[in-house]
């Protein structure tokens, strides 16, 4: 097993000096090595390198007066209602207008026909493409990281861009909310808000199910 290799001082043999008898300096290192590997395995097994990741969200500051609340233009709004069993009901436009907007059902999968990812991506296509372009040029080294970030911030903050209103119902799971927020990230939606669900929308959910 593991041995420390020792050089014999062979050259000295010519001089017939009386020397102390050399005892072998070979130490059996096997137990030590065994222990070292044991520790190694232990630490490898117990170490987790994946630190938890976080998602930063900014909630809008509560306005002091209700009149200060921002109005969302009807053409820009996309409302996503989250309900039980990972189901999503979404509609474009706003409630309470002349006509009730048409609702559609979607799910969280990426590939299905009724994928919410596709819906958001389609609605946000122009901004998404612009952000993608900036990211491409960042990847090719044409832009500095700070500049790219600033650009993306500007593009996402476009006043005429899509505004997504996320309204989780009482039955929604926390996972659904995180998934949707994640989707905002992926689809480069800069303007979104988590809003309390309104009564007409609760009624609406009942009719859809």
């Amino acid at each position: 097993m593991a041995e420390v290799q020792q050089k014999d001082g062979g050259g000295d043999k010519k001089h017939k000096k009386v020397r102390a008898k050399k005892s072998s300096t070979h130490i059996d290192m096997t137990p030590m090595v065994d222990l070292a590997f044991l520790l190694l395995t232990f630490f490898i097994m117990t170490t987790t390198f994946s630190k938890p990741k976080t998602m930063e969200i900014n909630m809008p500051v509560k306005p002091k007066y209700s009149t200060e609340q921002q109005k969302v233009k009807e053409s820009q709004a996309l409302t996503i209602l989250l309900t039980d069993k990972d189901k999503i009901v979404w509609y474009k436009g706003l409630m309470g207008g002349e006509k009730t907007p048409e609702t559609q059902v979607a799910d969280f999968s990426l590939t299905s026909a009724a994928s919410i990812h596709k819906v958001i991506l389609e609605s946000n296509r122009s901004i998404f493409d612009k952000v993608q372009m900036v990211k491409d040029s960042l990847g090719r080294g044409l832009l500095k990281e700070d500049d790219a970030k600033k650009h993306i911030g500007e593009i996402k903050g476009d006043k005429d861009g899509l505004v997504v209103l996320i309204k989780p119902s009482e039955k929604a799971k926390y996972k659904n909310v995180v998934d949707i927020l994640d989707e905002m990230n992926v689809c480069a939606v800069g303007r979104f808000a988590i809003v309390d669900i309104s009564d007409p929308e609760v009624e609406l959910l009942k009719t859809v199910q």
Binding site: V4, V33, A36, L39, E56, Y174
Partner: protein, 205 residues
């Protein structure tokens, strides 16, 4: 045909480099490993593509488990003691030095104030049992202890970042109550702790 003679040689191998490497790795892992204290609840966080790392220090963590119970955790021994003393004053419960000490070395707390004294006096095993039974920190609008915890926490250390660690299966209304409490305390910027999404999934996006 002449036989090919295999030269007899001792099958010993110089293992020194391997052992060196092994020790190097052992040292590395020993130095980098930080043992995590045991959490009272297991939380399965949802995944996201976000790659922002959670800072190591100055974190105020609000945990929501799958049953919708709320737990509160801050780091820093000194700060924890300060926060508990403030809470004690506010709720007019006297804690002994021993209890304050115990509080400062524990992790997440999911006890209403009235049970906290018993919880801190209990031994480890009964504490585990209590954690199973507890209803978590009350955060409803009538009796919002979480709000006080957050408030005193931020007074004790203004650098605290607030993170919500929610179980994916937790009902949203509980998380909403937490967020509302945060907003009432003028915290509009906080973090949601998530796992990194599996690579295959993120690749298709």
């Amino acid at each position: 045909m002449p036989k090919i003679k295999v030269p007899k040689k001792a099958p010993s191998l110089d293992m020194t480099p391997m052992v060196d490497l092994a020790f190097l790795l052992v040292t590395f892992f020993m130095l980098t490993t930080k043992f995590r204290p045991e959490e009272p609840v297991l939380v399965d966080t949802p995944s996201s593509v976000s790659e922002i790392k959670l800072p190591d220090r100055d974190i105020m963590m609000i945990t929501v488990d799958a049953d919708g119970r709320i737990f509160y955790d801050v780091d820093g021994k000194q700060t924890r003691a300060t926060i508990l003393q403030k809470m004690a004053e506010h709720y007019k419960i006297a804690f002994t030095d021993k209890e304050v000490n115990k509080f400062s070395i524990l992790t997440s707390i999911g006890m209403p104030m009235e049970n906290l004294k018993n919880y801190l006096d209990a031994d480890d095993n009964s504490r585990k049992a209590m954690n199973k039974q507890t209803k978590g920190i009350p955060a409803d609008s009538l009796h919002n202890e979480l709000s006080d915890w957050i408030n005193f926490g931020r007074h004790a250390n203004s650098k605290y970042r607030i993170a919500i660690k929610g179980d994916g299966q937790a009902n949203y209304p509980v998380v909403k109550a937490v967020i509302k409490t945060l907003q009432d305390n003028k915290v509009n910027k906080f973090n949601l702790i998530t796992n990194l999404e599996a690579e295959t999934n993120a690749g298709t996006k």
